[in-house]
Symmetry: C5
Subunit: 325 residues, 5 copies
């Protein structure tokens, strides 16, 4: 059936057999056996048969069918329903692509439902199968393994955002900031907000999984969720840090724009004076009065030129010293 990636039974952590959806109920009667079903954008019909096999709640199935959920953990009787969001840097436009993975976790089964652009969990499953003593802890360990891989995919995302911040910093302090800098800061903020919305509920989810109110998670598996929690908290801190720095960068950018504006005004004022003074003097000797004795002196012209020139030099030095030029 389309949408099924895998449906495998495990006994004491060891892969027993690929089984058919319809045979799940039967398989689960064996002791120490659990079933791990992997789905990818399943159709309604497939979800319906899954619902029947595992006795899932209508609302959870409805959620699992629609993507665009926020990360959450919900208990429906004996079954735990978890929504996580995945993120990857799109290698072409360097934006972040978000996907979703939903989990149904019961006493002896785990169903993962992937939506959107997330990586396959084949590798995760392979790694789990390599450590049967751990996978033997049951579906909660499989849940941990997938969550861990999802959370680990966030680190490169954050690092890309941190790199974007460094680029912006260099633009601000190294080169001249432009309109583009402001836009890049804005877009960085937007992306940080998007990732933040994904990470914050994840911390709550891990928090609940590592505490004692959720019976689906055996005691010896809790430290693993604490590990995921720890990573999520670290990602969150990196995000907050980057966000605070982006805010500071915007302020610095603003402050530098203002200083630069001030510098332009000073430079302009300085040069305007240096051009304005000779213009004024020239204007005076351009007057047409009959009786202007200086006009008739022989060296008047070079003297006036020289005086004007000296005046300009004096002005130049004065403005240079005042830091206006």
């Amino acid at each position: 059936m389309e949408g099924i990636v895998n449906c495998i039974a495990y006994c004491e952590g060891r892969r027993v057999a690929n089984i058919d959806i319809a045979k799940i109920r039967e398989t689960l009667l064996h002791k120490d056996t659990f079933v791990w079903v992997g789905l990818h954008e399943p159709g309604e019909e497939l979800l319906k048969s899954i619902q029947e096999e595992f006795d899932l709640h209508d609302l959870a199935i409805e959620d699992a069918h629609n993507a665009h959920q926020r990360p959450k953990l919900e208990l429906y009787g004996e079954t735990m329903f978890i929504v996580l969001r995945t993120a990857q840097i799109n290698s072409i436009n360097h934006h972040i692509d978000f996907g979703e993975t939903h989990f149904f976790v019961g006493d002896n089964f785990i169903v993962t439902v992937r939506h959107g652009s997330s990586l396959s969990y084949k590798d995760v499953r392979a790694r789990c199968e390599n450590t049967p003593e751990l996978l033997g802890k049951g579906p909660a360990f499989a849940l941990y393994a997938v969550m861990d891989s999802i959370v680990d995919q966030y680190f490169p995302v954050i690092e890309t955002l941190e790199q974007k911040l460094l680029d912006v910093e260099e633009e601000i302090f190294g080169k001249k900031p432009t309109r583009g800098t402001t836009q890049r800061i804005y877009e960085l903020k937007r992306e940080l907000l998007e990732v933040k919305r994904v990470i914050t509920p994840l911390i709550d989810i891990c928090n609940r999984l590592m505490r004692f109110d959720i019976k689906r998670v055996p005691d010896d598996t809790r430290p693993y969720f604490r590990d995921v929690y720890d990573h999520a908290v670290r990602i969150n801190e990196m995000l907050d840090n980057t966000r605070d720095l982006v805010t500071a960068a915007l302020e610095a950018n603003f402050s530098l724009t203002s200083i630069s504006q001030s510098e332009v005004s000073k430079k302009f004022a300085g040069w305007a004076a240096i051009i304005g003074v000779p213009t004024m003097i020239a204007g005076i000797y351009g007057m047409n009065f009959e009786a202007m004795p200086e006009l008739h002196w022989h060296y008047a012209y070079p003297v006036v030129l020289a005086v004007t020139f000296v005046l300009c030099i004096v002005l130049y030095i004065f403005f240079k010293r005042s830091g206006w030029l």
Copy 2:
């Protein structure tokens, strides 16, 4: 009586009969029966008879009579009184129209009181009647159904606000920002604040309904309120996100205005120099000294013109390279 939209008795989730307000008490004596009364801006007299039939508290009736309550959930003995606010985008002026719906929920009755511009709940009632096995859970399920429809009406409102933000972003980064941009940002902020005031208490209400301190909600109905809660939280996140972006957009707008001001100053300074230099030179050769040898040279005029022109070109290139022009 004016103000009554509907007054129907249900038995095991199935519609039994339209009944008269005065016969409610009598009807409620039947086992597994509940009454769903729908009112629209009821008069004082009608509310009084409702109060008598269901034994409601004075203060709740007073509140139900006046619109302009904030969303809240209050327990008066056995009866739960809930106020919710509805929102719709006005199709004419694209502003948000707010309305109010109040609920009285008891063991075997639910009264909905609509105020202002909210949609009728006919469709909701019809959908409920199509799933008698769910409506059989009692008045709490009817409450859920109406709440769910109210909360779902918020999504288009938020999407309109998000679209307004996108328009503002385009104005800021694409075209030149104007005074109108600032005003639009301000109005967007105002609308976001208004919606926020409606959504935040709604989350608390859902939270209480899905936890165990409210006995009116049977255990198997709680997951439905969790679903509403989930939607409310998502709306709230979308709001917060939009609000953060509006703030960032205002800053970006501000930053760009400042950069643009700086650019104007630079351009002006550059052109002022390019016009100022020939003016100064012309002034000098406009002086009336008798002894100005250059004046008598034959090619002085074209040479001075050429020199001045070259100077202007040099200045132009200089300013161009400095990014001032």
Copy 3:
């Protein structure tokens, strides 16, 4: 004695008699009887006799003597001491006048002490006496009635502040913002802070009165305090909303000032160019070179004038199109 407004005994909610302060103790021996004393800026002596009659704590009496307390609820053994602040819009200067009312509430007595410019509670008392079945609930109901009237007086205060905000908005977006606008925004902020300081502790007080840790409030009176609480929360929300909008208005004002500054610069630059170009050309033809062939051409003057004029027109159109003029 000066400072006593009223001292009345009630039995089962009905007024029994005006009594003397000295006879209070005696009166309170009757079953189902409580005493309601109203004081207005009482002297030390009067407070002392009140203290003796009701066995009040030194610290509470000290507080009741001095105005300028912050709103609070304190328990001294069996007696509850409450401080509330009242507010009214001064009809002359449109500022807010604050007053204070203190309450001592015991099992069978309530003392209200008014300070500063608050309204008399005569009307409240009259309304209470009209509903003896409610006043029969005891001093807690009298407390509710006065608190309710105090809180209701806040609504016009908030509405005045909201109106001031609307005026500021109109100044900002409609007319040109001036120095006065900034000052009005500042003063609005100051007033909002003042009211906020009064409302926030009020919410806590109501919260305690409607919960179960205060034994002075009988169970059937609690819903009334929840009603006051609800009003206080609404006032608080209106305040927060107005404060957020004032902040946004300040930013908008700032942004518009900056845009307006930018517009001035652009306009100035444009006109400076339009005036500068003819000045430069005129300067060139004002030079005194002997050999300037143009000077001798017959139509040179009108041609130059025309060319200059056309240049100015071209510049004008150019700047107009760029949005600089």
Copy 4:
């Protein structure tokens, strides 16, 4: 021994005798007797003998020796160790001088250790001795008396800061704001932060003293600490209020600077036009074309002057109306 200000035994609130440090242990054997020791910047040796007499913890003694602690309350077994910070306005430079007082409070003793520029507690002790019925409540009352006096010293400090804010407001809105205004705002912020750091932990300390987890404080003394708590909260509110207003003042200052900058630009632009137009016209009639018919008209000069003058007047009126001049 240097550093001892006082060491007095009290019985039932009445002063019994000045005693020697070495005799404390012996004195404390009497029933209903407690010892109040006052130290001022004690040496290590003195602290050691105090430690031995009262059996104090090493870490507390270490803290008491070094000033520059943050306000805190710590329990070491039976003994309570409290650090408070005192504040006074320096009458010379109008800055705030901070000091410290440490307390060791046991069942039958209290030790106060003053550091830095705080007032002596002689007056407090005298006042306590005047009300032996209160001092008879034990060391906790002595603690209250000193704390109350410390907290009361904060009110003039806050009032000084509020006065500084009023001065800044007047500078901003009344006179022209200068660089000094900005610096004064900055310094006010710094001082507010300093006082805040002292007050916030004080509230926590009072809070703990008035609740039931500290056994050293008898029940009938708790209301007194609630009184101190109340004062601390009021000081804290005044601080927060002042801080919010300082922030608003900075924004207002900034906004007004920007408006003032805009006004300068407008004025300059207006006058530049009024000077620029005659300069341009004069330039035109200063051109040396042979064929300029106007030059030969007899009234050309006065006519041109008059036209220019009228133009300037027109410009002046235009700019005046536009609010640019």
Copy 5:
């Protein structure tokens, strides 16, 4: 083996012997004996043998192998795993160098694992060995001693940051602020954020160690962790204070830049007028009208010069008084 700094057994607080990693298990069988192992960037193999000797959890060992953990306290069964970050000012570039120390603390052992540029704990160990009565309290005291030394190393770091703030303040208010000032403020913010990220979790860790939920810490050792907690809180307050002041400094810087911009504009406007007026007058008398009677008056030239000069003086005085020059 490389990576082992020390491995010493202590009995009743006294050093017994340097022992081999392989003999730890054997040694721990003695009563009242504990082992303190010091590692520095250990290899995988060494960590493996440590894990075996002390029965440590896989996840903790994995963490201990990789540096770049965030500070945390985790319990794995009987063993406590703690990560702390160390900080020092790099004496060359005045930046902060961060390192990490991990601890495994059991009933009778403590393992410290240093990563990166942190100081050796030789001195700490020496000081502990000098007070065997304290070290006799067991591994928790050794943990305290190392934590205390780590936290004490933060004080010079904070003081360096505070000094950087003072330098920035001086630049802002004393000298003219430049682009460098803005960059220094930004870098200071970055460093404050980095230290903050290290200190905040440290407070939580101390908090848990001084409360009663961690059994590894005996009761008489808790006050020591309260001491560390106290230091951490103080560092945190200093950080927050510095951060608030940096924000205020940025605003002040910004405000002063704006005022300075305004001053430049005023100065420029003033001088432009003083130069512009003579230029205009000179232009008028440079016109070539035939009939300009003034031109023929004998004293016209000196009179015009004088009038112009006086006008300039008047303008100068006017602008000086207005505060524009």
